[in-house]
Point group: C2
Chain length 338, copies 2
DNA sequence: AATACGCTTGCATACGTATTCAAATTAATT
DNA sequence: AATTAATTTGAATACGTATGCAAGCGTATT
């Protein structure tokens, strides 16, 4: 019989008590180094690894991080997921996936977490209502928002400096001589979107300008296409000379629509600027000017935040903002020259 | 005190034994329907959900599926991941992520699985050696290969009909008058790649032709770029008039390289055909002709395969092949016309 | 009416580990 | 050498659930 060995089997083989085996695998516990080595050796020989399930019953720690995503379409998210998972994996944690849909409530998903004794939750591409925060706070589990934030100060979040990002875009577009600047928004309720839009508006105001028009793309390519078509429909007397699109993902769709459906040239007829700096934006076919949201920084800060509040749950929530900067490529034209 | 309630608490509240509570949550167990309803009601009232960890100690089932990925860069994989996870989620299972790297061996990762009492393993974008199969077979855990296969018949795999796909490509390119057909391969060791290449070769042979040249892109965009540059380097007397690229992901890079680095027109100067039919291929900027690998079919067959061998572990492994078909878009030119 | 049977229920136990507490050993101090 | 302090060790218990077993009860069968 080839049953998976337990700590009792190892104990028997090493001639010690089960307690010793447990201690051998618990860093920093009181045990003779020689014995520990012996036990580890015997364990390896038998192919023993501590059973996380049994362990979690005692410690109430599962070494599992719950990830909630709404979608993985926008390349930014799978890349972030991979990086985060790898970092957690290196620390002995693993990621359990939860995908949200419009059927099941936040509460339902949070209930599912409970069953798995998740050590922490990372909320990523989910359109979160206050339900989420309530549900998570009622849990005693640390929650970190990735690329999302909420007005109230009672949960930790990691975002880029979206407000400043919006302002940067405004200044850049104004300084390159654009007069009719429009915004294709993300999910209107999301903090990320709101902050970018507010930054854009404030930035324009600084230069005595105002937004030409806004439409929602809802972080979706098809809706972004519709928004674009609408902004340039034939019944419009004037059309934008610059489009700020709330994500690269939508910006690609906008570019395609402008070029191949509306027959407009980018950047000659319209400038386009995105947000995220996804790898695809660097492809010559797009060459998208955009605001970077450094994935590596975002991820490492998220991981740190999670780890530190697993270690110390009473830590007060903080709002972490990663600086965002302009990536100049070829979809914005300086209209002051020539 | 707001401790999470246990079955004992619910039992107390409902005036029954803990066993009854357990049975109330165990479908098909012997219990009076009225009592069950009462218990469920009380449980809901207290906010009780069975603790999966404790349950798995008895049942040896964790309701967790282990996913192994090597990368998520190729959009095909995050999309497949999302769909699979959602389907498993609907069945009460959840996905635990494992990312492979070149440091840690297959054995190490398999050992990590063991700790979590995973119910099944899905291997996806991992470049698998026979180590993997050995390691997994030594486990008593069902393994299903997604978009991968191995020569030996001792593990279940779900792939598209790669061999026929390769043949279809050959026939199509020949029938559209191409004379110098080259192949930019994926990871040369992978079954997927081998089958496509073999199909391509056999298909060409059927028409009395032979492959013009081959280079490895290793499923990586940068290596695909290098391969392309090499195939069209100035010291070549003749260059290909058609390129079959083993994945859309690489094909995008190949298109960019041909157009913007080599100044060639696609499809006028060179035809390009990919594999996967990733959403991005439909974007007008690429309009990539490709072989579809229907994600939905692949995913649902994978999920079914997993579920059926969780239910019946003795089931003999099977090799599932999903038909693949040609998606004609704009990167292949019929050279017999005009 | 008496036996058999099927359906419900509670008791007790097992799963594999961490941890408290006291016992036992070793090292340090006088 | 004797006492104290420090370090190791093992026995026992708890975590939250599922399940085999026997007991209870009501209904159907003869």
């Amino acid at each position: 019989m080839n049953k998976t060995p337990s700590s009792v089997d190892v104990a028997k083989a090493a001639g010690v008590s089960q307690s010793m085996v447990s201690r051998a695998f618990t860093p920093g516990s009181s045990i003779n180094p020689d014995k520990r080595a012996l036990i580890i050796a015997k364990a390896k020989e038998l192919g023993y690894r501590p059973n996380i399930m049994a362990r979690s019953m005692i410690t109430k720690k599962s070494k599992i991080i719950g990830f909630v995503f709404g979608y993985l379409e926008n390349q930014y998210y799978p890349l972030a997921l991979e990086k985060m998972s790898r970092e957690f994996q290196a620390k002995g944690y693993h990621s359990l996936m939860f995908f949200s849909d419009n059927q099941s409530s936040a509460d339902d998903i949070v209930q599912e977490f409970l069953q798995y004794q998740i050590d922490a939750v990372v909320l990523a591409s989910v359109s979160l209502s206050s339900d989420w925060i309530d549900a998570c706070n009622s849990l005693s589990v640390p929650v970190v928002l990735f690329n999302r934030a909420i007005k109230t100060d009672d949960v930790t979040s990691v975002t880029s400096a979206n407000y400043e990002g919006g302002k940067t875009v405004a200044r850049y577009l104004v300084e390159t001589g654009h007069k009719r600047i429009s915004y294709i928004s993300g999910f209107v309720e999301s903090s990320t979107n709101k902050d970018r839009e507010r930054g854009l508006n404030d930035g324009l105001e600084d230069h005595g300008m105002t937004l030409f028009s806004v439409e929602s793309g809802n972080y979706d390519q098809e809706q972004a296409r519709k928004a674009t078509l609408d902004m340039f429909s034939s019944d419009k007397a004037e059309t934008p000379d610059a489009l700020f699109v709330a994500s690269d993902h939508m910006a690609f769709s906008v570019l395609e629509t402008l070029r191949y459906e509306l027959g407009l040239r980018v950047p000659e007829d319209v400038s386009v600027i995105g947000y995220d700096n996804v790898p695809l934006g660097a492809a010559p076919s797009y060459n998208l000017t955009t605001m970077s949201q450094p994935v590596d920084d975002m991820v490492s800060h998220t991981v740190n935040a999670v780890m530190s509040r697993i270690a110390q749950p009473s830590l007060k929530p903080e709002r972490i903002e990663i600086p965002s900067h302009l990536i100049q490529r070829k979809t914005v034209k300086n209209r002051l020259l020539s």
